[in-house]
Symmetry: C2
């Protein structure tokens, strides 16, 4: 089976408008390319649920800060095309920068609380760029469902908020974070790591699991699991911690007390590479006092 | 014929999803209610072009500043319903504030250049509020065409820019400004004027025509028609001028030289009432030197 590939929105619309969808949903998996098993699992989910699956590939310059890795972000169209072909994707939408942002500052989507703190603190404008591009992709493709990975949880919260606030008709579907055997979350940015750095990187997930364990054991004060995770991370001299936070899974704001499900989220740097990860944590039903 | 009226988006969608549109377009005329012949002409235009015509009534709090006339803005649902019924509107969408903005600061649309200057200068956040609400209405109704009056030219530029930048599938259609016999643009805010103020208000259009005349006669320097318009306005002691500008009709930015079509736009205050108006001006083909 071959994948139809489109560089411009008009051609994609012509294809979609003439495709016989019937009553089955149209699914969109928005990506920045450099596809890996994280994307693969989202494509598989879409393939199971939808009649037609579109994957978009667009390295969205709006969501990169001036000092970030826009230029070095991995791009490999042919490999991505093959990746999609093997997974039964119907069409690829790979617009150029010119196609998406032809001139000047575009109309932008500004999202509230969800975009503040965590990655939003160190990446000003990042989630505005994400939301704006995703909204454009939604308006071009008009999917019934769109698939996003749990790894980028703040992005997911921003997009869910946008979809709700702006009365979008698309259902936002989440796929679980895919991990390497050592637990490290799969990400396109892992490629930046040297062999040595790569071995160290699994510490991020180990630290999150330590925090999750403590929350499961009954910690109510978020400082306790946070400090436990920090201790694990600080044990690695090559790791620089950007943040570890215990947040409300809906609005991404740090909680004062762990009284329901929370997410433990962290961003770290290893060398020049920034890595993020997060885990959902259910508090214990029987809170206990910590041993002194 | 009776008009179907809906207070919530879900009920409207059910109605629209079950309506047999066939191939004829769905038209939306977004309004803040207090319908007058300006709206009437847009409804008529939509009626001529579309199979189904929806009018939305929503006094959009987002587009009013804290010191503006949100509370006093005229509201008369029954009269508006009758107005729509008489003009063959198919359905009215009159959502509550709660329906449109249920909680907190919503995801917002930020629009660029077009929202700056003119009314944007004195009404910060106004066009962000307009764009956000119009985008929500578009996403709820999903019209093929949406109708906006030329009188609110900056709003029209902002929405056209949003539609283009965000890949909206709706066509933005403009209807000409409707005027009273003395030339005054019809507006819901005209009701605020006393009888005396009402008689004075026609000076706004007179001033714009004086500027247009000068541009048609060959003025290339925008200061000349601008000052001519100001002179007319300043002759009325009850008028306070907010701005008179000669702008590019696309991006709403003041021009340095009149070398193609421009809009002369003005905002004035008479007592507590703010009035705006604008005219499109074609420069003379044969520029002439002004007599000294």
């Amino acid at each position: 089976m071959t994948v139809a590939a489109f560089r411009n929105a008009r051609a994609l619309r012509t294809y979609l408008d003439s495709a016989p969808f019937g009553d089955k949903p149209l699914g969109l998996v928005p990506t920045m390319g450099a596809l890996h098993e994280g994307h693969g699992s989202l494509i598989q989910l879409a393939r199971e649920e939808c009649g037609t699956v579109i994957v978009s590939l667009f390295v969205n310059s709006l969501q990169f800060g001036p000092t970030e890795d826009l230029k070095n972000y991995p791009r490999r169209f042919d490999a991505d095309l093959l990746f999609c072909e093997r997974r039964g994707v119907d069409a690829l939408f790979a617009p150029s920068e010119e196609e998406m942002y032809p001139s000047g500052t575009p109309a932008l989507v500004a999202v509230g609380l969800e975009a503040e703190g965590l990655c939003g603190a160190s990446r000003p404008g990042h989630f505005q760029g994400v939301a704006t591009t995703v909204l454009k992709l939604f308006n071009i493709v008009r999917p019934d469902r769109a698939y996003f990975g749990e790894k980028d949880m703040q992005q997911l919260a921003v997009i869910s908020r946008m979809a709700r606030d702006m009365n979008l008709s698309v259902d936002i579907v989440t796929g679980p974070t895919q991990r390497n055997p050592d637990g490290m979350a799969i990400s396109s940015r892992n490629e930046y790591l040297s062999t040595e750095e790569r071995q160290i990187a699994a510490v991020l997930y180990r630290a999150l699991r330590v925090a999750r364990q403590r929350i499961g054991d009954g910690d109510r004060d978020p400082l306790l699991p946070k400090n436990a995770a920090l201790k694990v991370l600080e044990f690695e001299p090559l790791v620089r911690v950007e943040y570890v936070e215990i947040v409300n899974p809906e609005d991404m704001q740090a909680v004062n007390e762990i009284a329901g499900p929370v997410r433990v989220a962290a961003a770290i740097w290893i060398g020049d590479t920034r890595l993020i990860d997060n885990v959902l944590c259910e508090p214990s039903n029987k809170p206990r006092r910590r041993r002194k």
